[in-house]
Symmetry: C2
Subunit: 211 residues, 2 copies
């Protein structure tokens, strides 16, 4: 797979050895993530909005109610920034200074494009449902024309995008290696627990998540 | 405990019933979170930067290398936005439209203030270490004057701040309750696995995390 171009905006200046620009890495982080944080300008100041997102090909998608502040900011024609972060662990070094975090993150910049026609919105929103529980989109009560009209969907093309990753044990100064404190990593991961059925349903319905 | 004022900036317009402004809720979300997403203006456009953070009293703190773009943006005198998001579950409804996420989030707005003196920076950075493994700050190799000089610490006061929360089962339309698809919640949580010791250390050192 190919690489995304490194632009003035996406070139890592701090710890550039942690940067990656290949499609496979960027896609893998986006597909493993759950929530994105979108930066938009509102009254000239940045606002960071947490939101569900999904990827279809070379587009990252987000959705909102048509008439919200969030949707208005996304259709304003201004550049937005979208970041997805996976926290993989606390890195405990011998010195305070060398403590760190293991992570995988993607940052992208784009002018969001609104998806206007109901058919495309429907298909894209189905992909959001499929991402969470594969096979579920065909089982749920389909969206009505009114619901689709109330929903705004935006695509942010993967063009100006970078990934940054840290993994592995602490990187201590040589002189600190004998300092008498435990050093290592506390691994962290987002994990799912057993699904909790809504009590108001009959037994044995299809679409139950595997866990 | 008291409430934060509801300002033009922090008043929830969408789903205001999910908003909370009391100190206890805001503190609890901040103390349970791990990573913040900070929105800053760079060349007039918003950039969303993932970062470690911590809370001391009525300040949220972040740190960075003194000379980075991130640090320069934080000391620019412009308003920043900081968001902490806890993902608690996928909410699977009978209709696609009523699918949702269970979450707890805090959004705050502030002009960051740089902490200048080395003694305060040292004390505050110790609080970051303590938040991750209580008792660890006293065990690690202390920060040197050079390390503290290379580190920028910023406080964002808790003044313009809101929390927003969703919990519980799907909220389906009455007419959909008999739609033949499983409905409920997939609970999600960030969990720690067994600590991985750096191989380059002798056995039995203090400061090992409990797990
Ligand atoms: C979980 C986590 C915790 C972190 N904690 C801290 C912290 O406490 N303090 C701290 O200073 N930094 C922290 N970072 C790193 C932080 O996100 C920035 O990478 C760093 O602060 C440098 O920012 P900058 O804008 O000065 O970087 P620059 O290198 O100047 O940024 C230039 C370009 O590099 C790319 N880039 C920069 N950062 C990232 C990223 N994280 N992911 C993808 N692309 C990126 C973007 O395209 C950006 O426009 C953390 C990162 C993660 C994921
Ligand atoms: C995990 C998660 C996933 C989400 N997924 C989506 C999604 O896919 N689509 C979608 O439209 N929305 C989603 N939201 C809600 C989203 O964060 C916004 O609340 C919503 O989009 C309305 O934004 P707005 O700027 O139009 O709100 P407004 O109500 O106009 O915002 C006004 C003020 O309310 C407060 N506020 C707004 N949102 C939050 C928040 N999340 N936390 C704390 N304070 C807040 C802030 O002070 C803000 O300045 C999600 C939230 C979370 C936490
Ligand atoms: C548990 C405590 C700490 C954690 C979790 C932590 C985490 C981090 C992370 C994730 C980064 C970003 C690295 C990257 O860009 O990939 C960072 C950068 C940095 N941290 Fe910390 N840190 C901690 C304690 C400290 C302390 C105590 C100091 C100073 C005494 C410090 C000084 C710095 C500096 C100077 C940078 C910038 C590095 C650079 O860009 O070159 N940190 N920290
Ligand atoms: C698994 C799939 C989905 C997930 C995880 C999801 C998640 C969310 C979340 C978290 C919100 C924000 C709620 C809040 O502010 O607290 C939201 C809002 C919204 N969603 Fe979805 N959604 C999904 C599918 C859909 C579909 C299929 C549609 C349309 C057919 C839709 C339409 C909307 C609309 C219109 C809003 C705005 C609600 C409002 O602000 O009044 N969503 N969604």
């Amino acid at each position: 797979m190919s690489d995304y171009p490194v632009t003035a905006q996406t070139r890592l200046r701090r710890m550039p050895e942690r940067g990656q620009y290949d499609q496979a890495t960027v896609h893998a982080i986006l597909d493993a993530g759950t929530v994105a944080h979108v930066g938009v300008l509102i009254d000239g100041a940045p606002v960071v909005i947490p939101t569900a997102y999904w990827r279809v090909g070379e587009d990252v998608l987000v959705h909102a109610a048509r008439a919200t502040r969030f949707a208005r900011a996304l259709r304003s024609g201004q550049r937005a920034s979208l970041t997805v972060t996976l926290l993989d662990g606390w890195v405990l070094a011998r010195s305070g200074f060398n403590h760190s975090v293991n992570y995988r993150s993607v940052m992208l910049f784009a002018v969001p494009e609104e998806v206007e026609d109901a058919e495309s919105k429907n298909r894209l929103l189905d992909a959001l449902i499929e991402r969470i529980v594969p096979g579920r989109a065909a089982l749920v009560r389909p969206a009505t024309a009114k619901e689709l009209a109330a929903t705004a969907v935006f695509r942010l093309p993967l063009a100006e995008v970078s990934a940054k990753l840290r993994s592995g044990p602490p990187k201590d100064d040589e002189a600190d290696l004998d300092w008498p404190v435990w050093a290592g990593v506390i691994p962290l991961a987002l994990t799912a627990a057993a699904a909790q059925p809504d009590p108001r349903q009959s037994a044995g319905l299809p679409g139950r998540p595997p866990l």
